[in-house]
Symmetry: C2
Subunit: 331 residues, 2 copies
């Protein structure tokens, strides 16, 4: 910056002003400064910038699983929202592993990011509090922990679970199975509880729970195989999968075992990722507005950043929607 200043025949302070407070600099000087910047190919050092400014404009985000299109959709919504303020997004992937989640929180804490969007896996309440006390605004995405303290944007998982289950019951299915996990994750628990509640309310039927450690297609396959190994009388006639990746895995295992979908076993997924519609048997699924969720979370986060003290804790709950396709209502 000193070089730029020298070349433009001004002091470094003026260069800084030309960049950050253009109104404080006369048009003529501003022009000269910009010319010098262009000639020298100057790019400001953001480390120094941040150090002095005391704040990093970037926002950090930790998603559960980048391999899941649902989360990349959420991330796209976030990216769009941030782009409007020209704030960079630093995206981290925990892959459902608390250790990696923690590593990203370390990084964001060191970076003093101004905001954090997170779908927590591990026990991070303490960390989040510390971040908040350090001045990083936090919004929870698709998950609530310490609801009292942090704003959140979620989808009504119970409602989604109810929609899916009532749909299966209405089709005459009674022996339901829920595949997915771990149950420690709120989303999973809520969807499962809602399924059980819907069955209870209906008066007949049962829900068997097959817990998995992850929520990918492999988990769906092993979950389904487990169910297929049951005696015929106990075998479910419908499977509600915790998400679409699991549902696709279930579908693969059933197809391989020559079980007819939906005739023998119906399948409902969750998320309605794009690939659900083009699956071997197009998947019925509980649609979550992923991109909207990302945008909503970002909007809320930016509000809090703009006025950290004034804003109270809010919880935005978006509504899921059942999309019926062949895997439950097939020919």
């Amino acid at each position: 910056m000193r070089d730029v200043a020298a070349r433009a025949g001004v002091s470094p302070a003026t260069v800084s002003n030309a960049l950050n407070h253009p109104d404080k600099v006369s048009p003529a000087t501003r022009e000269r400064v910009h010319a010098a910047i262009a000639e020298l190919g100057f790019v400001r050092n953001s480390a120094a910038h941040q150090l002095r400014r005391g704040t990093n404009r970037a926002v950090g985000m930790v998603v559960l699983d980048v391999a899941n299109p649902f989360f990349t959709d959420v991330a796209r919504g976030v990216e769009d929202g941030l782009a409007e303020q020209g704030r960079p997004l630093i995206l981290g992937n925990s892959g459902q592993e608390p250790i990696r989640e923690s590593a990203y929180l370390d990084l964001f804490e060191e970076q003093r990011v101004s905001g954090l969007l997170i779908t927590p896996v591990g026990d991070v309440l303490g960390r989040l509090r510390r971040l908040r006390d350090r001045g990083t605004c936090v919004v929870l995405v698709d998950r609530r922990v310490g609801v009292k303290e942090f704003s959140s944007v979620t989808v009504d998982d119970r409602r989604g679970g109810r929609l899916a289950t009532e749909h299966l019951l209405a089709l005459g299915r009674r022996r339901l199975a829920f595949v997915g996990g771990p149950v420690r994750l709120n989303q999973v628990r809520h969807r499962l509880e809602a399924a059980r509640a819907a069955v209870d309310a209906h008066g007949s039927g049962e829900v068997r729970y097959v817990e998995t450690t992850t929520m990918d297609a492999a988990a769906g396959r092993t979950g389904a195989e487990q169910l297929l190994s049951l005696p015929a009388a106990e075998r479910p006639d419908a499977i509600f999968a915790a998400n679409d990746l699991v549902a696709l895995g279930v579908l693969q295992a059933l197809t391989r075992a020559r079980v007819a979908v939906p005739d023998d076993i119906a399948i409902v997924g969750f998320d309605d990722i794009d690939f659900a519609a083009s699956a071997a048997v197009p998947l019925s699924s509980v649609r979550q507005p992923a991109v909207d969720m990302g945008r909503a979370a970002t909007t809320r986060l930016l509000e809090i950043i703009a006025d950290p003290t004034g804003s109270s804790v809010t919880h935005t709950v978006l509504e899921p929607e059942l999309v019926v396709r062949d895997s439950t209502a097939g020919a």
Copy 2:
């Protein structure tokens, strides 16, 4: 850090040493320092760290399309590779838009990241040169530009194109269509050229090119509809899609139009993303070792970072592999 120093009864310099050069500090003092850090919940300010150090340990990456599982797989490989050195990854998504790509390059340039992995969209050669001159090491992923100057890790797109095309020809298909684009992208051009070359070598057959602006399912659908609107005699009997997302879109459009796959029209995709196998008609595809590619690019990048001057430009080319499924060889 001053507070930590005071609490541990040492000078700030010693705290710094305890953190960065533990061997320079006696075990007893090191212990005291760490205790003080824990008690005070000290987290170092990475802006100051970087400013003084002059280098940012982070590595930046710009991918073409996070919505494409292929790229998230590559990113996972990169993340794993970097994790071994404890380097953070800053992931940016250009979404095939040069403007957004450019914005991320600005960010990485300001941040003085030590390395950059990029699958370029726009004309960024000049930018890359400047970054390199500033000390940021660059490795191209899945693309070569200015081959003379920058190391790259790619998959042999021509070979992939040849494999797919020869497969279709061997099945007796002659009226081929290639769907995807823009042709400005090297990958697309190489795959297309290889297809044409294979047809020429075979002596009979033709390749019609349907260019699209993006490479997602929507593009595949419109591309396929365009082909279906041709007079029956010109309609292709096989479609080679530039990637699996496009292939899935093509498949959807054909299914909707009640065209039998593969009987009337066979489909081959590219990438072999996980979802290809579980599609309505399981997709034949040219498999790219995405995760390996990410890892290889990272390994190479870290080598260059370790010894920026000593290492020469290298080009790692990974081999693709044809995976045959129902969409070409169906029952």
